[in-house]
Amino acid sequence: MFDQKGQIRIIEAFLAVAVIFSVLLISVTFPSSPNLDNQKSLANMGTQALITLDTNGTLGNLILQENWTDIKTSLDILLPIGVSFNLTIYDDNLRLVSSQAIQNSNLLGHEAVSVQYVCAVQNLNVQFFVLRLQLAWTR
């Protein structure tokens, strides 16, 4: 009787250890929540680049002149090396304004973050443009 009790206790202990280790194994192998820090920092950089470019109305004037090359070059200088971007510009009715791709490389296959920015241009009347900037770290 005494021997049987002891055996059950040992089996119980083994089971307890097995339970603890299985929980550990599950928690280790379970995918952790994605790290959003890099994405946040990328989004901040993109927003700041657009705000900087919009100072003194430079960005709005470039859009009115349809000078996509200068917008692309400005972003090339303002964003750190290793950041890929793709900028799309819409008018206030969300119709596409930029007739060509404003990008430095293809974002396909990279984890991208999107930033939306509204740019106002004041000439005879006020015009609004919606800019969607997609960014990704390529290295």
Partner: protein
């Protein structure tokens, strides 16, 4: 059973330790991002600590006081981060002023793109010497098209030459210096990106004109410290004689007015200019028979202050954050690196 239970507990704690440690540092990047923004968006205490040469900040902030523009930095606060300035703050003073005891940091402020100058030829033409320079403007190898404005300074002689760099980021500058002057010559080059005049860069190149001795490093004869619109020149030798003090920007150059003179110090007024350009101030003179051309930029850039993270322990987490900041209408890149105290 006790042994089994104990070994299970030990095993659990061993396995969980790195994950628990990771969890405790999970918000570090977000926190460091907020700290970097805080430094660049706040003016610190007192708000004008940059201009007060004997004052150390109680709380750290580099933003210009009363600025309506985000990320506009104070030219004097930035200059006081440079160890070349007589009124510079040490890293421990900055760390104390930041007041975050479990974080270490590094601040780097530089132009948005690099400008390099190479002297490729010199030849005599009548009573003057012709120097040809090649200038390259690049950002991490990517060429930048720019407008160039350059000045050559020797003794009392100054000349301005303009040019540009093409789509390959390369341009040339040719300067003519009369042979009636001799000594250390300084070539100053400013570049403005063709797409945006606020994107600027600058560099200098010292060479010997019409004389044999090699040029000595900048700072050999005088330590120049610009602060609060005053240039303080601390002369290394009592025999040093200053010939001329001049100020240069992309569009302007003129002589500086003397404010005060001490035994081995001279002060000059620095005018406030609306040119979106760094300012370079040059002092030319003689120490005995040796001529010199000492220079300093205002804001005093590039600068790097703080912890050297390149030597940090492998595996320790470092966060690098990049911002664009405005100083005197021109744009610069501010890179802050952050790490924890283990």
């Amino acid at each position: 059973m006790i042994i089994l239970a104990l070994s299970a507990m030990v095993g659990t704690s061993k396995l969980m330790a790195p994950y628990l440690s990771e969890l405790s540092h999970r918000d570090d990047a977000e926190r460091f991002q907020q700290l970097a923004s805080y430094i660049l968006l706040n003016s610190g205490t007192p708000p004008n600590w940059g201009q007060m040469e004997d004052t150390k900040p109680i709380s750290l902030g580099l933003a210009k006081a009363d600025s309506s523009l985000p990320y506009e930095l104070d030219i004097d606060k930035v200059s006081r981060l440079n160890s070349g300035n007589s009124y510079y703050l040490t890293y421990s003073e900055l760390w104390e002023a930041l007041g975050v005891k479990d974080a270490t940091f590094q601040i780097e402020i530089k132009t948005l793109f690099d400008l390099s100058i190479s002297l490729i030829s010199n030849s005599t033409l009548g009573n003057q010497t012709v120097y040809e320079f090649v200038v390259a403007t690049r950002k991490s190898g990517m060429p930048i098209s720019t407008y160039l404005s350059s000045y050559v300074v020797v003794d009392n002689f100054v000349d301005n030459v303009t040019s540009s760099t093409g789509s390959n980021g390369v341009g040339s500058l040719t300067v003519y210096i009369p042979n009636s002057v001799n000594g250390t010559a300084l070539m100053l080059v400013f570049a403005k990106a063709q797409v945006n005049p606020q994107m600027v860069s600058f560099n200098t190149y010292a060479f010997s004109h019409n004389s044999s001795p090699a040029t000595l490093p900048n700072g050999t004869f005088a330590r120049l410290s610009p602060l609060n619109d005053v240039l303080n020149a601390s002369l290394v030798y009592p025999t040093t004689e200053i010939l001329k003090a001049q100020i240069f920007t992309f569009n302007y150059n003129f002589s500086l007015t003397k404010k005060a003179q001490g035994t081995q110090t001279v002060e000059y007024f620095v005018p406030q200019l609306l040119d979106a350009s760094p300012i370079i101030m040059v002092l030319t003179g003689y120490n005995g028979s040796t001529s010199f051309a000492e220079w300093v930029s205002y804001p005093q850039l590039p600068l790097l202050i703080g912890v050297d993270f390149s030597e940090s322990i492998a595996g320790s987490k470092t966060v690098s954050i990049s911002h664009i900041a405005t100083i005197n209408f021109a744009l610069y890149e501010v890179v802050t690196k952050w790490g924890g105290l283990s």
